[in-house]
Assembly symmetry: C2
């Protein structure tokens, strides 16, 4: 049948992802880095444990290339489900009411931290002679901040209640929304094939309208009708309905030309209103644990490390990484103007990690053919390095900084710390 | 890319499964029946909403037939994952210590309820001129009892603490093990291609050795080392390790020639020892909710209802169904000899539903080519009808029967009842 063989590959992906995650956590690094590196290692460009020409599948498809294509389809569908549940989970962590309560400070930091990296990244690519679409994708990949990693490092340091942490977390949320709109616009441009004013405006308007409608109307609908969910007869009805809406909005976003994950994020945002009532995050977490590592390993597996034997490409990756860190630090630091140099530096560095959001932009860019393999690999390296650099750097900036008086003791048993150690965002 | 299209099919499968489940629960029927019927309805043989020749995928595979094959591969991998997590969950519900504590009564009921249906089913098929392997598969499909549905009906009736309920639930667990060994043996025979004594003995010995080793040694290993699981650094480490072992044993079972789901069941059985400590069932449930309905819808979609326009096939399905109910009722009833006629009838009818286990046997038989499409459809109809007939029949047998004094009040808030309403087995 070939099914057993595919399940075998999924076992390898899952086991290797968790092993790498464990090793990297023990090294004090985010597990996502381990999952990516493991994917590069076991992928078809290195050890070839996954994604290679499928043995038994060849009988089904009569052609090794088509069998590999079919196996690749299975892996990419599972990776896409992983990305959908990742963004659904991030959406669940993001209350619209929290977003609206976020002050001018966080918004300023977010906007400055979006505009500067986008312009710098796109300008560098244009200066190097890349087409506008490629430049826009690289710029977009430089926009987003990975909320989970940032929150986690701050929690490990015991600085979750600091002013800087609140600004960073608030700004990271706004930043995610802006990054998603930018991604929607760039994806729309990619689908249209060229930069034409009307399609761009239409796509932008559609992205904004879809985002605003689902965020505001969806949130109200969920808030109003969520009490009725418990009346359904099927088991775990609220979770089941939330997942159905998540998949439905992902498909709808895909149909109207946006990225599927944007729909999933908005579904999460709408159900964030009712997440505590029905323990939605708690129930989403096991699905997350199963599928999200598959996304990162399969993303890693598509990186052809041999591209970096080309010295100029490695140089480009390091230049883009330096630009990604510098522009985010300067942009966000300026947004935190008036808080003192140390706080500006903390906010700037804390906003630097791109993590999974950069990778999602990269994989969408590659999937739609907008990003050539070289730039895809550059963006993946940038996402990995900007994330790797923060856990060692942030503690140095906090050294000697008076620890904030925590509202609750940050012991190992503290739920807020536990939440952050789990990589979840605390309510601000 | 075609990925969006596949995600769209997954959304349709999930949404339709849950809608059908809700409708059937409101009708007082098990949701699994709704999921199956929904699958038949939206499958390629009826409405064609899923599994048909994939539009955008055709571009990737240059041939509509190959594109449909690739889409089918994705759906079957997800269905297989659903079956794996279903049996992992059933394993988690089944403590080896509970199995060993089950009295001679439950064992007698189980053995009598396995031998009689197997012999009768196989004999009927042989008498109708079918080959030995087909006869053995049909006999095996008649062996198993669907624990979840039985437990659920008893819980809805408030008879969970009755003597009959305890015998049924204990026997159903033993029955599951016997059915799995039978399936392992039959699958082994199917893989060997013919009935030869040495391969059969080897397969049986291998199945028994694998089952006994993983059940006994695995259980001890988990009991001994589970306290160390909390020391791992990755999030939800016990759940992650259990899922890794589940996928690993599924692949191992597949490699040594058993069904993958047998490995998943044994993994569940081993981790049942530590399920409360780490809330493993609680964490497996969301994955179950996501993947298991896909198994039933996709299984339903592979039923070609047009086969039943053939009157003789419909007749055969009804004869096999009657045989399945009668032999289980007589075998299990005789096993409950001495408890009075009403109790014997309750035990006999309560053991009748084949549910998902019959379907798993059918899909394995079809997947390995051992069951031709006609007999596959016959077994599916038998599984559906034996399950459909019990919820209305069992209450009639209990009518006027003194309700047992429950050890805890069976209110809607009662955790035992809630567990059963969720379709989970209570600890006896």
């Amino acid at each position: 049948m070939g099914i057993g063989e595919v399940i075998g590959q999924l076992f390898i992906i899952f086991a290797v992802a968790k092993l790498a995650g464990e090793v990297f956590q023990r090294l004090g690094q985010p597990p996502v880095i381990g999952e990516l590196l493991a994917g590069i290692l076991i992928g078809p460009h290195a050890l070839g444990w996954i994604g290679g020409p499928g043995g038994a599948l060849v009988g089904l498809f009569h052609d090794p290339a088509l069998a590999q294509e079919a196996l690749g389809l299975v892996l990419h569908v599972l990776a896409e489900l992983g990305a959908i549940f990742l963004l659904f989970f991030v959406g669940l962590e993001t209350r619209l009411s929290d977003l609206l309560r976020v002050g001018a400070r966080a918004a300023t930091v977010a906007v400055a931290g979006v505009v500067l990296p986008f312009l710098a990244g796109a300008a560098l690519m244009l200066a190097l002679g890349h087409p506008t679409l490629e430049a826009a994708f690289v710029g977009t990949a430089l926009v987003a901040t990975s909320v989970g990693i940032t929150a986690r490092v701050l929690g490990d340091l015991g600085y979750l209640n600091s002013l800087e942490a609140r600004i960073i977390l608030g700004a990271a949320v706004v930043d995610d929304i802006l990054g998603m709109i930018a991604l929607a616009i760039v994806t729309g441009i990619g689908a249209a094939g060229q930069v034409a004013l009307l399609p761009v405006a239409t796509t932008a308007a559609l992205a904004l309208a879809f985002t605003a409608f689902v965020a505001f109307a969806g949130t109200r609908v969920v808030r109003r009708f969520s009490c009725h969910l418990a009346r359904l007869h099927i088991r775990n009805a609220p979770f089941v309905v939330a997942v159905t809406v998540c998949l439905g909005l992902a498909v709808l976003a895909d149909v109207i030309g946006l990225a599927a994950i944007i729909g999933a994020f908005l579904a999460g945002l709408a159900f964030a209103e009712t997440r505590e009532q029905y323990a939605l995050e708690h129930q989403t977490l096991p699905v997350y644990e199963l599928l999200v590592p598959m996304f990162f390993v399969i993303t890693g597996a598509s990186v052809d490390w041999r591209l970096f034997l080309d010295g100029s490409l490695l140089g480009l990756a390091l230049v883009v990484t330096a630009l990604a860190i510098a522009t985010k630090a300067v942009g966000c630091g300026l947004g935190a103007w008036g808080l003192g140099l140390r706080s500006m530096a903390i906010v700037g560095v804390g906003m630097a990690p791109r993590g999974e959001v950069g990778l999602i932009v990269a994989s969408i860019g590659q999937g739609t053919g907008a990003l050539p393999p070289q730039l895809f690999s550059v963006v993946v390296v940038m996402s990995v390095l900007t994330t790797l650099v923060v856990p060692p750097l942030l503690p140095l900036l906090f050294r000697g900084h008076a620890a904030p008086a925590p509202s609750t003791p940050l012991s190992a048993d503290d739920p807020a710390l536990a939440a952050v150690q789990d990589g979840r965002l605390p309510d601000l």
